[in-house]
Symmetry: C2
Subunit: 283 residues, 2 copies
């Protein structure tokens, strides 16, 4: 393969150690690297996009002269949109990588994750995409063991491809005395946050509320991302952006007594004339 073009984004912001680590790894692989990342932390932004106001985009040579890098005032999904349609335009990246997130995005966390929304946005655009996260939170997170695994995943993605209609959610165990056991394909564990709200009073006696909670794994499976991480594997989950639940269609047809078309045969994607709702309906 000629020198690949790799687009990098994240959700912790362009100055986070995690994106610095990821940029360095893909540079070491010999890639041409373009970065478009948020100018401030965007953790927990999910798949938010900016439609109520305009975006700023500023060149920032934070990774040195060899890396074309921009900071953007928007969300991670915005960063990928403006990278694809404005910064790169006619240059198509061979791979889009996001992260490395400071903290796990395994199981249900994928839904809240700005890191993964950047990767999923790229997948919607038809680009191979991977979101990377390290299961250690905070600015002091230790990324010293990740290069081998990130490189392995990026090489697979570039040489063997990423399944159509998906972005990969890759989580890496925190550094410890136990060596990483390898890559492990997994499904998203069924889990949730057991939440509480901590009510406090401000100096003017008005209440405010902090979201706190603890993570509860509800899934005894050995084929989940949580199981893989607990056993020191790097978990690899292909995530689709078609949310349709086949079991849900079948159940609704029976219980709500609504007719159900035959499942569609897999047809090639092609533009179909459609009403133009205009950008204002992206809500």
């Amino acid at each position: 393969m000629p020198r690949p073009l790799i687009l990098v984004s994240n959700d912790d912001g362009i100055t986070a150690p995690g994106i610095r680590c990821l940029v360095e790894i893909v540079r070491q692989m010999g890639a041409e690297v373009v970065v478009v990342a948020p100018d401030s932390p965007q953790s927990g932004m999910g798949h938010a996009i900016t439609i109520g106001h305009a975006l700023r985009l500023t060149k920032n040579p934070v990774f040195g002269p060899d890396v074309e890098a921009y900071e953007c005032s928007g969300t991670p999904a915005d960063c990928v949109k403006i990278a694809k349609h404005y910064v790169l335009k006619d240059r198509t990246p061979d791979l889009v990588v996001s992260g490395i997130n400071h903290g796990s995005n395994a199981s249900v966390n994928v839904l809240y994750s700005g890191t993964m929304s950047a990767a999923i946005e790229a997948a919607i655009e038809g680009l191979p995409a991977v979101g990377f996260s390290l299961c250690e939170y905070g600015p002091q997170a230790d990324f010293s063991h990740v290069a081998e695994w990130v490189t392995q995943v990026c090489r697979h993605a570039l040489e063997d491809g990423v399944p159509a209609g998906t972005a990969l959610n890759v989580n890496i165990p925190k550094n410890s005395a136990v060596p990483i056991a390898g890559l492990r394909l997994a499904r998203q564990a069924r889990a949730k946050w057991q939440e509480e709200f901590d009510r406090r009073l401000d100096p003017y006696q008005r209440p405010y509320y902090w979201l706190i909670g603890s993570f509860v794994n509800l899934d005894p499976g050995t084929d989940t991302d949580e199981w893989a991480l607990a056993h020191n594997y790097v978990s690899v989950v292909p995530c689709q952006f078609d949310l349709t639940a086949a079991h849900g269609l079948a159940q609704l047809s029976t219980r709500w007594q609504l007719p159900l078309d035959e499942p569609a045969v897999e047809t090639p994607l092609q533009p179909v004339p459609s009403g133009d709702y205009g950008p204002a309906t992206q809500s």
Copy 2:
């Protein structure tokens, strides 16, 4: 069924005509109604949650003395979390409804939708949930034809249930001379936004960028939500929050040559001991 308890939220904010319409419909059904909705428009917020700062929550009797209503400074997903764990506490709603959104959330728009993130958050909590959207944008949207269809969906949800692990994405055609043809089960159409960025200069000659674009349906299927809406049906798509792509696991196993466990048998949900990553890793 005794008087059902229905929790209502949305993403256009507590003063939007769409939520007023939805509250009125579920009141007419005889339900006890609790509202927790954003204090400002949150369109396009996707599944964002607030982790960097605290939330405000204020009682607001905007729907009259019979409806317990609160405005919250957070995202739609935050509203459902604080409703479940703080406002309602030991009262379990029989149904959670979100909307009615001003604008379509069909096809790929479900990913960007704050309306649907409120419903999906409720589904993660194990509650039956429906997000409603009207395919007409703007504050002047005409909701005069929706009551019959919203009532029908809510009755089905209360009496026949919503499939586990899903929230329903219900889109209603805009009012026209053509009568609504009925409810139609559908899958999420493969579609995308063809985006552009409109570059402008501010009075200080610094550039800024507006996201604009047009909707492109790439899906010729007759079993999609876009097809249903184009043929004047109310589309009903069950959306799952398990993003795992089965076809992706199979492809990765073959092409990346990684072993793949047998698909897990469906086991009942049960708490499994797990590392507590703490709320700070929700990113």
